[in-house]
Amino acid sequence: MNASRWVIVVAATPAEPGSREMLELVLAAAALNIDLAVVFRGPGVAHLEVERFRSWRQLIDFGLAEVFVCADNRPGLLPGGVTEIGPEEFQQLCNRSVGVLTL
């Protein structure tokens, strides 16, 4: 884990179908070459649904961020490249980061 890393917690459901407001914030940070970990939690897990995750997948495919899920309500099958972590690992990730931004 990198001490210069920011953690972005996606904890809200998508605003509406096709809405990419949260992804755009993450991409704006990625565009600045900021070391990022994106964690889907709680209602934010809805973004992992196959079609909704389509746009998020670029984070993984181009190495723009590490992507995690920390939730009891996660889908049965996670998208490839998404790592499941428990509450303790999530806390460690946050503790070792420069800052945590919750969307």
Binding site: R20, L27, A31, R54, S55, Q58, L64
Partner: protein, 114 residues
């Protein structure tokens, strides 16, 4: 969806454009439309321009967003070992490589280019 501000005729087909010259109906795009749009802006598309347009179109088809400039630069370096990164891309399209690749590639006007 944008309202047509003008029409461009390519191979006898009317192509509806918005006020900034982007296609109103992305489904109307074909390669010659891209060439005609660039020609209107005084740009003759070569292989390097088409590499960028096709990369941006492919990215949009996969992810439903335009690529980050950072991603384009990295992929350009992979496929063009001699690439000088964003300098080369801005030489192709000085007014914004991703934005103009979207325009000439028949994609919607990007809401952001970063």
């Amino acid at each position: 969806m944008s309202k047509a501000a003008s029409k461009l005729y390519v191979d006898g087909k009317p192509i509806a454009l918005d006020e900034e010259g982007f296609l109103v109906e992305p489904g109307q795009w074909f390669r010659e439309v891209g060439e005609a749009l660039a020609d209107r802006d005084g740009i003759r598309l070569g292989d390097d321009h088409w590499w960028l347009i096709e990369f941006v179109r492919d990215h949009h088809a996969r992810y439903a967003t335009p690529p980050l400039m950072r991603v384009v630069v990295a992929e350009h370096r992979k496929s063009h070992p001699e690439s000088r990164g964003s300098r080369d891309l801005y030489r192709l399209f000085p007014d914004g490589p991703v934005r103009l690749a979207c325009k000439y590639g028949g994609l919607p006007k990007p809401e952001w280019c970063i």
